[in-house]
């Protein structure tokens, strides 16, 4: 019987697990996929939002402003790539100029520091690639970017290092409430018991809530398509360039990523479910067209990949972070769409507070260590550092992914350290092997071989992302 079961190992569930291991509590993360961060946590803009956007008084507003610094601090502790690059919200008309001013006002109410309104020329002086049609811009110096899936992986890994358990391929099909707690049953028959249950199930949080007998909300899945460009375009702009927000959302942005690529997107279209992660010609065309509106010189011949994330949105528009009104011991942390990533640490702390108010006794864990060991990513190391490290660890001498300079040592480490990768995409997210220009064309067979060795599985059982996604059909 665990103290707390968390359903969903995305960035929210992961950060919460980490937060809970600060206390003497047994924690179990349940994840239906073959790895953590497989939902929206791996397919979003990676933005650390300044905090001017949420409606004042909402949970989003409260957690965003406080959440920014907490997120950067956690990213530093966990060695997760992040950059405080600042952002600009650009306007293209007198009408939009008014909206920019309104965002400033709203930001001030939300307690955001450092905001100012720039003229179009001032904005272009900072960002020469900005469209000549930009009339004004809100400058948000405290904002930035973070790698959302690395953050999730590191948070879960740190939680596991501090004692949390992770069960993968655990697709919850039933939740029952007994006298002393909950039993969550998986499709394959596994069952896990816990005194408290936290619903962090992202795009499926409404289904988990219903399973637990508290299905009081329905999520509206909204897909966002992105195009990611080669690092050669990574310097096109230095800051995140937003357009003025509309009812649909924050609009198409153009941003450097924490790893040095250029990211454009997302769209916002209603889709069938959280699994509707296809890209569409119309969506990609919209991204290109609207990105070019802000930054006309973006060279779309440098696109290296495109992807879609599905937001877990809800009609009310705010986070649903509250104890269940009908099922004791159940905490919902749901409808976490933007700025959920920014708020993930603040949400985790807030959720722990709520659990305590629900009766969870939380005594400090004296052995908790919030820092994660550096992964020795070779692309960040100087030649001298590399040479010294290779002498101690020869596996780091062999470069497997040429495009991103990823070594065999890093890949083996990703297959061993918490939470270990189990498939090609898992190795990719942890090490960046396969994220470069050739998109795994050269390194995929080598990565597969390392997975086969480290996981002791046949090459023919190595998958792209679990389940039926085997890469090979057999031996010749």
């Amino acid at each position: 019987m665990y103290d707390v079961i968390i359903v969903g190992a995305g960035v929210i569930g992961g950060m919460l697990a980490r937060e809970l291991t600060r206390y003497r509590l047994s924690v179990c993360l349940l994840e239906k996929e073959n790895d953590v961060a497989c939902g929206a946590s791996k397919a979003n803009s990676g933005i650390v939002h300044g905090g001017y956007d949420p409606t004042p008084g909402t949970l989003k507003a409260k957690l965003n402003t406080a959440g920014v610094e907490k997120l950067f601090a956690a990213a530093a502790e966990l060695h997760v790539p992040c950059t405080r690059c600042g952002s600009l919200v650009v306007a293209f008309s007198a009408e939009e100029d008014e909206i920019v001013k309104a965002l400033l006002e709203r930001g001030l109410i939300n307690g955001v520091k450092g905001l100012s309104v720039l003229t179009g020329d001032e904005a272009r002086a900072l960002e020469p690639a900005l469209s000549p049609d930009v009339t004004s811009a809100l400058s948000v110096p405290n904002a930035g970017v973070v790698c959302p899936y690395q953050l999730t992986i590191a948070a879960v890994g740190n939680a596991m290092d501090n004692g949390a358990a992770l069960q993968l391929n655990f697709e919850a099909v039933a939740v029952s409430r007994e006298a002393d707690g909950f039993t969550v049953t998986a499709a394959d028959g596994r069952a896990v018991k816990g005194r408290y249950l936290v619903n962090c199930a992202g795009g499926h949080a409404d289904q988990i809530a219903a399973m637990a007998g508290d299905g009081f909300f329905t999520l509206i899945p909204r897909a966002g398509e992105y195009m990611l460009l080669d690092k050669a375009e990574g310097g096109r702009v230095r800051r995140t360039i937003f357009q003025v927000p509309t009812k649909e959302g924050k609009g198409i942005l153009v941003t450097p990523t924490a790893d040095g690529n250029l990211l454009t997107g997302p769209t916002a279209t209603h889709v069938e479910s959280a699994e509707s992660t296809e890209t569409t010609p119309a969506g990609l065309e919209t991204v290109a067209r609207l990105a070019a509106k802000s930054v006309p010189s973006v060279n779309f011949r440098q696109v290296i990949t495109s992807f879609t994330g599905v937001r877990a949105s809800v009609a009310g528009g705010d986070f649903i972070i509250e104890p269940s009104k009908t099922v004791q011991g159940l905490l919902h942390v749901a409808a976490i769409d933007s700025p959920g990533l920014t708020c993930c640490v603040a949400i985790a702390e807030y959720a722990v507070g709520l659990l305590q108010s629900m009766g969870l006794a939380a005594e400090k864990n004296p052995t908790f260590n919030g820092a994660r060991a550096d992964v020795h990513a070779f692309r960040h190391m100087s030649n001298e550092e590399r040479d010294a490290y290779i002498k101690e660890h020869p596996d780091y001498g062999k470069i497997i992914c040429r495009c991103e300079t990823v070594t065999e040592g890093e890949i083996r480490d990703a297959l061993r350290r918490n939470p270990p990768a189990n498939d090609i995409d898992g190795v990719k997210r942890r090490t960046r092997a396969g994220m470069g220009r050739c998109q795994g064309g050269f390194c995929m067979p080598y990565v597969m071989r390392l997975i086969s060795e480290e996981r002791d599985v046949n090459m023919t059982d190595v998958t792209k992302n679990g389940g039926a996604s085997k890469q090979l059909k057999g031996r010749i």
Partner: protein, 415 residues
């Protein structure tokens, strides 16, 4: 820092041919760096024939062609560093690489870039749809099938009628897979005509020109693709869309010269070829850096890669020889106790060790010889005795010569 007269980046057909040509042109201090365990580059996985008719007068498979050149490299004792990935080349021709022993830096008299090319990926093609397992670039599938012996799919659609796609259509068919179609976005095929015959017609595989893959379906594994005809602007014609069930999509949509190192070195590129700008010796705009093979321009026949690599290899050798001839001449002088020093002048630029020979003026007991250039001591050597009848030799290592400008004196002091 190690020095080689010529450092060749890439040990495929281009690198090997350049190495052999440079060696035969008289510069024998040549080193090949390759990221794989054995030389041969992409030829190792090109098990089909069609190589060598022009260059070697006989038709060979890829591995056989590679073997011919590998044997020539071995015969000449050319230095080979395998399992070694070059991470940087500087305009001053310092090559940085790494392997399991550590980080290597080499000063090269001349560099030959022979890194080959990569394939255009699905992401770069912006094919929409899902992102399942079973989407391969043709070369990756070729490697898995031919080198490691794995089946990549049972029901395959191929996008791109370049030679790699056509060759894989045949390969897959021979191994019992069903190749449903080859789609080509242009109104003509990109591959050799004979491959249309021996890879598609022989196996009854349809070729749809002016067609593309509009969408990929399947959540975990490819379940099918939607293909469609395209108009003269290569846009999808909606009404022609049709679904082909399959479990694998192979992409053979163009090769891109692998010029990351080239660009990072600031070497000017040609946007049309995707490779460096070069002159008739295949020398780039940066002196002493040459390029050849697929990294310079995408070739269709490896025979021409070998021809081009020979030009670059000879060019690199000439460059090195000219550089050596242009080096400043430094005089050597006999100092205290020394009657003469031979050679009387040296070209000392740090590329090789140089031995100085001398005779002393009279018999001495214990002595220390000092080789100096002004205040700077280049070498010392202690001997138990010295006699006019016994020639003495002092070797000054190559790195000691770096930056030496003025005359060099050899003198002795009694100990």
């Amino acid at each position: 820092m190690k020095y080689h007269d010529i450092v060749i980046i890439g040990g495929g057909p281009a690198g090997m041919a350049a190495a052999v040509a440079a060696y035969d042109a008289g510069v024998t201090d040549v080193a090949i760096l390759d990221r794989e365990e054995t030389l041969g580059g992409i030829l190792k996985q090109c098990i089909h024939n069609g190589f060598g008719l022009h260059k070697l007068g006989r038709e060979l498979t890829g591995p056989e062609y590679a073997d011919v050149y590998r044997a020539e490299v071995e015969k000449r004792g050319i230095a080979v560093y395998t399992d070694t990935m070059v991470t940087a080349v500087s305009p001053e021709r310092v090559v940085t690489a790494q392997n399991r022993t550590g980080v290597l830096t080499m000063q090269a008299g001349a560099v030959v870039l022979a890194m080959g090319c990569r394939e255009r990926s699905r992401g770069a093609l912006n094919i929409s749809g899902t992102r399942p397992a079973g989407v391969y670039s043709a070369g990756t599938a070729q490697k898995l099938m031919n080198c490691e012996g794995y089946r990549v799919g049972e029901r395959v659609v191929i996008l791109g009628s370049g030679d790699i796609g056509l060759i894989m259509a045949r390969r897959l068919s021979l191994e019992g897979a069903k190749v449903e179609a080859v789609c080509e976005i242009m109104p003509y095929s990109g591959g050799l005509i004979r491959n249309i015959v021996q890879c598609l017609e022989d196996f009854g595989i349809p070729l749809y020109l002016s067609h593309t893959v509009a969408e990929i379906h399947g959540r975990r594994r490819v379940e099918g693709v939607t293909i469609a005809e395209v108009d003269d602007k290569r846009r999808v014609i909606e009404a022609t869309k049709r679904y082909i069930p399959c479990d694998t999509l192979l992409l053979s949509c163009g090769l891109i010269p692998e010029n990351e190192l080239t660009r990072a070195a600031g070497i000017p590129m040609d946007p049309v070829t995707g490779g460096a700008l070069v002159d008739e010796h295949r020398e780039t705009a940066v002196p002493g850096i040459f390029a050849c093979g697929n990294v310079l321009q995408v070739h269709d026949l490896v025979d021409y890669v070998s021809d081009e690599a020979e030009i670059a290899g000879v060019g690199a050798a000439s460059f090195v020889k000219n550089q050596k001839a242009k080096r400043p001449v430094i005089a050597t002088k006999a100092g205290n106790g020394v009657r003469y020093v031979l050679p009387q002048q040296v070209h000392a630029d740090g590329s090789e060790d140089i031995s100085l020979f001398l005779r002393v003026t009279k018999p001495f007991g214990k002595v220390r010889y000092t080789v100096s250039a002004g205040e700077r001591v280049l070498a010392t050597a202690n001997r138990l005795k010295a006699a006019p009848g016994e020639m003495e030799k002092i070797t000054v290592g190559r790195d000691k010569w770096q930056g030496v400008a003025g005359p060099v004196t050899v003198s002795l002091e009694e100990l």
